[in-house]
């Protein structure tokens, strides 16, 4: 059984088919990129997979559970237990330190554990920035805090919507390296990106166009390492 399976999923806003009959499978431990022009429905799909939105039609099976039928409250619980989220705009709570931001995810999940949170920050190389507020961190550092926050509860899938959209190449590389580390540890990754270099790193790239899956590219020589053209 696949970890995630979308069966004929539609998301319709009025006349607009943001997702139009999308079917796909993601296996456990896979690293998948999603590309596509702006407005093609990438974020819409991520929201549905991330239990933050429901499809208009179709089934979404996560770990064998059809999340399109669950109540809002249950979706929150499923999201909390199985999914780690990374955003383009980082979304750190600005009055909490880096460490506290990581602990926040633990708090809503189960119990905050300062030691474990500090270890997570260590993994993204920010142990020495633990007591800094987001405003005292660079963009790259903030995104690494987000990664730490996303991985702290050992989610089954990490969903990243344009994680490198606001980062320069150096930070892009750091983040992709983190993904690679997570991937080797067996975490499933779904990464939305505009950046072909970031997309190419994944094992598989799906291309969305006007809400439809238009292309699927399998990366034959997968290394999990980013390589820049220039």
């Amino acid at each position: 059984m696949s970890l995630l399976e979308l069966k004929n999923v539609y998301k319709i806003y009025g006349d607009l088919h943001a997702l139009d009959d999308v079917s796909l499978k993601v296996e456990k431990g896979e690293w998948v990129s999603i590309m596509g022009p702006s407005g093609s429905g990438k974020s819409t799909m991520m929201n549905i997979i991330g239990c933050m939105d429901k499809p208009s039609k179709g089934e979404v099976l996560l770990d064998g559970v059809d999340i399109s039928k669950e109540s809002k409250k249950n979706l929150t619980t499923i999201r909390r237990d199985k999914i780690g989220l990374i955003f383009q705009q980082f979304h750190l709570v600005n009055y909490l330190t880096a460490l506290e931001n990581v602990m926040l995810a633990q708090y809503y999940h189960s119990m905050p554990d300062e030691k474990e949170a500090l270890e997570a920050l260590e993994r993204v190389g920010l142990a020495d920035r633990a007591k800094h507020l987001p405003s005292q961190l660079s963009g790259g550092e903030q995104q690494r805090v987000c990664v730490a926050r996303a991985l702290i509860n050992y989610p089954e899938i990490i969903l990243a919507d344009e994680p490198t959209g606001n980062l320069d190449e150096a930070n892009e590389e750091i983040v992709v390296d983190l993904f690679h580390k997570l991937h080797t540890e067996g975490t499933t990754l779904i990464v939305v990106t505009h950046d072909p270099e970031v997309a190419e790193v994944a094992q598989r790239t799906l291309v969305l166009r006007s809400g439809k899956l238009s292309k699927e590219v399998v990366n034959e020589n997968f290394t999990g390492k980013i390589h820049f053209d220039s």
């Binding site: 933050m52 939105d53 999201r79 909390r80 995810a105």
Partner: protein, 430 residues
């Protein structure tokens, strides 16, 4: 973690909460100022009315008729008197227990050696009585003129009879005019006799009594030649506020039906007490001195109503202000709230977080407002009522409840918005 978050907000975002705290403080200060003034001034006025003692005066019937006809004030010119030996009967009426104090008065005109005319008033000071009922009672001006301020010397002590007979208390302005003080002797010549009195004390009554000399009843009676007679009795009684029945009865008790009469007679209305006094004191008219009390009461009531209105309006204003500010704050923090929800926070925990924040802000603002309001009350007290306002313990819980209620009510719209907020709407930077 919850505490760390609250701490984070309060220490790192205090500027944002400051406006909310300020709004709450404003509402709380107005509410506590108004409540303090309201509760305290009510008590003050009541107290003052009680201190101003006599709420019933008893005068001879004839002088009452004459003074009504000719508006003559000085009843002693008329030649009608009440009998001194009937005084004790006042404590035998049905409402005897409601009579807290009473004192007889005799006016005597006298001239000093240098020809100055002075008004001498004879009364009881702390007259000890043993009533037929076995009850003991101390009555007199010592308690009925409790607002007198002693400037010099002591009160005339009736128990030390030897001294008292020849003692006198003199009003402040008269003493000044005559250039006398305590321990000085004055020689008074009245219509019917003369006496040599020692001034034991100088008082400040803040009224026409400052131009008078107060002596024992006997002394004044001797001066005026009015043995066994008194001009006036002042009675201080606890009364039930008047209602329609009392007003009707006050005009004419005979117009009542038997049942009404019974009710009226057995209720401590000023009018029924007066009626009963008239029954025991021959040829007397007892009348409540309540015009002043009534109009003061009415003004007080209106003032209190006004203050209640101000309080309510200020609280509504505060609620609206809080509503605005909290809603704005939730809007401003929508990303943060969306994120919390996205990483697994249920509505209840986010609501709890925000409410706790607001609640703490309210407590801080409310406390500040309370003290500011109390200070404000002092200003009102001094400028409007001419006295300091004392803190009524009751104000604290009332203000606390009002602050909490207003804050919670003001937060309702924001909390509704918060629960409706969907993370997808705020997290993708659209």
């Amino acid at each position: 973690m919850f505490l760390r978050m609250i701490k984070g907000i309060l220490f790192r975002q205090w500027k944002k909460m400051l406006m909310i705290a300020f709004t709450i403080a404003l509402g709380a200060s107005l509410a506590s100022a108004m409540l303090s003034v309201m509760l305290d001034v009510g008590d003050k006025v009541n107290q003052e009315l009680k201190t101003y003692g006599a709420n019933i005066t008893v005068i001879p019937k004839e002088s009452s008729v004459l003074s009504e006809l000719y508006e003559v004030e000085d009843s002693d010119k008329v030649g009608a008197y009440l009998k001194e030996d009937e005084l004790g009967k006042i404590k035998t009426i049905f409402w005897a227990f409601n009579i807290v104090d009473f004192a007889p008065f005799v006016n005597a005109d006298a001239t000093l050696d240098d020809g100055t005319e002075v008004k001498v008033v004879g009364s009881w000071f702390d007259h000890h009585m043993e009533l037929p009922t076995g009850e003991q009672l101390d009555a007199g001006v010592a308690s009925m003129r409790s607002w007198w301020e002693l400037k010099e010397g002591t009160w005339l002590d009736e128990q030390l009879l030897d001294d008292a007979e020849n003692g006198a208390m003199i009003g402040k302005s008269l003493a000044q005019r005559l250039g006398v003080g305590s321990c000085d002797m004055i020689h008074l010549k009245g219509k019917n006799g003369e006496c040599e009195l020692k001034i034991v004390g100088v008082y400040d009554a803040g009224g026409e009594e400052d131009e008078q000399i107060y002596v024992l009843l006997d002394t004044a009676q001797a001066l005026a030649g009015l043995d066994g007679s008194v001009d006036k009795i002042e009675v201080s009684a606890l009364t039930t506020p008047d209602n329609e029945l009392a007003e009707k009865a006050a005009k004419d008790p005979s117009s009542l039906t038997a049942a009404q009469y019974e009710t009226w007679y057995c209720t401590a209305y000023a009018s029924s007490i007066c009626y009963q006094i008239q029954e025991v004191i021959t040829d007397s008219v007892a009348a409540p001195v309540r015009q002043v009390a009534d109009s003061e009461g009415a003004i007080l009531e209106k003032t209190q109503l006004l203050m209640i209105l101000i309080t309510i309006l200020s609280l509504i204003g505060a609620a609206l202000g809080i509503c605005n500010l909290v809603t704005a704050s939730v809007m401003e923090r929508s990303q943060e709230i969306g994120l919390m929800k996205a990483i697994g926070a249920q509505n209840s925990s986010v609501t709890l977080l925000l409410l706790t924040e607001i609640f703490i802000t309210a407590v801080i603002g409310g406390t500040a407002g309370f003290f500011a309001g109390f200070g404000f009350a002092q200003i009102i007290g001094r400028t409007v009522f001419g006295s300091a306002i004392s803190l009524k313990p009751m104000v604290v819980p009332i203000v606390a409840v009002l602050v909490v209620a207003v804050t919670l009510i003001g937060s309702i719209p924001a909390m509704r918005m918060l629960t409706r907020l969907r993370p997808t709407e705020v997290l993708h930077g659209r």
